[in-house]
């Protein structure tokens, strides 16, 4: 057996860093179907999982991959899959099953430009609303957006920890550029990596209700074979897990899967500020576009324009309060993303006319350049 945590400095791509982050988080099961630009995650972890006693399965398609990931998690494994646009669409059905059965797992989407087959080898960030609402029904989701290989490593660990803590599938919404970018990735000593595990049932087996919320609103999870009652269904169910076809039962079930997120926003939402303290104009961005934004902030500052960046590390749940506060004190908010306005809609909703909301968007296939952003900063600041 080889170590799961490859402590040291590496010059690797974001995709490889993601796979190593999964192993460092204790992932022992990966089911997937190769797809550009996420293939290298599957390729790398297919070699590594057997070295650490884990299992890799290439499934017949992404529908089955997502189902296998949920099954492995129900049996007690930390499990994951990785895909891109078309595969992400196929995973939507069973993503909903994971949400309603409160099954922890991690789903990585290394975004490419769509719709449909789109531009397989070129990046975009145009699945952001699909991440939020792509599966039918009402739910809350957690989605993280890494902007470097180092973050692909750490946010994969964070995604596993969040999925275990709150018992739900957690999405990593990466992009082709970050997935294929090579940079230094520092992997710390295994003892320095904090890992979380799902809450587990204690006490009398005959009184156990598999969906009765415990601390944090999260129900302890029994694994198949533990001896506790296990009932897994996509139908609306009560705390015992039994189907219950009433409006009252549905309200209660939806509350269970949404409250655990809504009540823990402070623990879930991760943001990074750059030169924002004295800023007049704020960029709001994530993933690779946040890196273009960082360069644009520096270039604007050189010209004497007070620009800053709020980087969304957690994109969902959306940081509504933080955007409201920014809108109340700034001249303008500029969302920078590789789509034609998805997170921009959320920024508009939260700023609600308090500050003008601008968009620097592109449908994908390239990256947004610092120059594109700088022009919009000048417009928002009233320089030109």
């Amino acid at each position: 057996m080889k170590p799961a945590v490859l402590t040291g400095e590496h010059f690797i791509t974001g995709d490889v860093a993601c796979a190593e982050g999964a192993l460092a988080a204790g992932c022992s099961f990966f089911a997937g179907y190769p797809i550009t630009p996420a293939t290298e995650i599957a390729e790398h972890i297919a070699g590594r999982l057997p070295e650490v006693g884990g299992v890799f399965i290439q499934m017949e398609d992404e529908i089955a991959a997502m189902a296998a990931v949920l099954g492995a998690s129900c049996a007690g494994a930390k499990s994951m899959t990785a895909t891109s646009g078309p595969g992400f669409s196929l995973m939507m059905e069973n993503l909903g099953l994971g949400l309603v059965t409160q099954t922890p797992c991690v789903v990585v989407n290394v975004q490419r430009a769509g719709p449909s087959t789109g531009l397989p080898t070129l990046g975009a960030q145009s699945d952001m609303m699909q991440a939020r609402w792509g599966s039918h029904g009402h739910y809350e989701i957690i989605a993280l957006a890494p902007s470097s290989p180092q973050e692909m490593f750490f946010l994969t660990i964070a995604a596993f920890n969040l999925s275990e803590t709150y018992r739900l599938p957690v999405l990593i919404m990466a992009d082709e550029v970050t997935g294929h970018l090579s940079e230094r990735v520092v992997i710390p000593d295994a003892s320095k990596i904090k890992l979380q595990s799902r809450p587990r049932p204690k006490g009398r087996k005959d009184r156990f209700k598999p969906f009765q919320p415990g601390m944090n609103g999260v129900a302890p999870m029994a694994h198949a074979g533990d001896g506790y009652r296990v009932h897994v269904t996509g139908l609306t169910h009560d705390e015992r897990g039994y189907p219950s076809m009433t409006a009252e039962a549905h309200v209660e079930m939806i509350s269970r899967i949404t409250d655990k997120i809504r009540r823990n926003l402070d623990r879930i939402i991760m943001l990074e500020e750059y030169r924002l303290d004295d800023a007049d104009v704020a960029l709001i961005s994530y993933g690779i576009s946040a890196r273009s934004s960082l360069a644009a902030v520096d270039e604007a500052r050189c010209k004497g324009i007070k620009a800053g960046l709020l980087r969304l590390v957690t994109v969902w749940p959306f940081p509504e309060e933080q955007i409201r506060r920014l809108a109340s004190r700034l001249k303008g908010l500029i969302t920078v993303e590789l789509n034609l306005g998805q997170i921009h809609l959320e920024v508009e909703r939260c700023s609600a006319g308090t500050a003008p909301a601008y968009l620097v968007g592109h449908p994908g296939g390239t990256v947004i350049t610092p120059g594109d952003i700088l022009r919009k900063i000048e417009e928002a600041a009233g320089v030109k």
Partner: protein, 200 residues
């Protein structure tokens, strides 16, 4: 004129050629040497897709003393060309201070104001018995002429990146390119000194 670029706080390097010439590997070797061994910041972005398998292919490396935000080359300080298509595609991005290093048997560089450094890299690799080491020869040349990464870092990075069993052959290829580069620099200095002597 001092061509050693290691003093510059940020270097943008574009390596171009055909898919299959080891262009991406060359970028990987250079980026890894700068990042892990010279302890600078570096990023590598690369061609991905059908062009990486026969068509025009590129690797973009940025090496800097501080954090690199935008990981794409906007104004190449150094353009390395292993094919004519790679040169034709990127020559227009060159500026007055750019330098071009190219395989002289593969690339013509007409009407160019940038400083040019030719090397018969593929021929040298063939003489060493392996044409596919031309990318390592040109890395040695780049190291000598530009100082983008240290020699020690580059040799270690080459050895860590090539198939095991080929380390010695690749180190020899690197050294050939490096010596060729040092000889070119020496000849230039001599010429410059002679010109200066002629003036006075």
């Amino acid at each position: 004129m001092d061509r050693n670029s290691s003093a510059k706080s940020k270097l943008e390097i574009l390596i171009t050629g055909f898919g299959g010439q080891g262009i991406v590997l060359a970028g990987q070797v250079l980026g890894m040497a700068a990042s892990l061994i010279d302890h600078k910041e570096s990023t590598l972005t690369q061609s991905y897709g059908p062009e990486a398998r026969g068509g025009a292919c590129s690797a973009q490396v940025i090496i800097a003393d501080s954090t690199i935000h935008f990981p794409y080359v906007r104004n190449p300080d150094i353009l390395v060309c292993m094919s004519q298509a790679g040169y034709d595609k990127y020559a227009r991005q060159l500026n007055q201070d750019s330098i071009v290093l190219y395989d002289q048997d593969m690339v013509r560089t007409p009407d160019i104001s940038a400083d040019c450094f030719p090397i018969p890299a593929t021929r040298i690799a063939e003489e060493l018995g392996r044409k596919m080491m031309a990318n390592i020869v040109i890395l040695g040349f780049v190291t000598a002429v530009t100082g983008a990464a240290s020699v020690e870092a580059m040799i270690k990075s080459v050895c860590d990146s090539v198939p095991s069993g080929t380390e010695d052959a690749n180190t020899a290829a690197f050294n050939k390119g490096y010596e060729f580069g040092m000889a070119v620099l020496k000849a230039r200095r001599k010429k410059a000194a002679a010109a200066k002597g002629g003036e006075s």
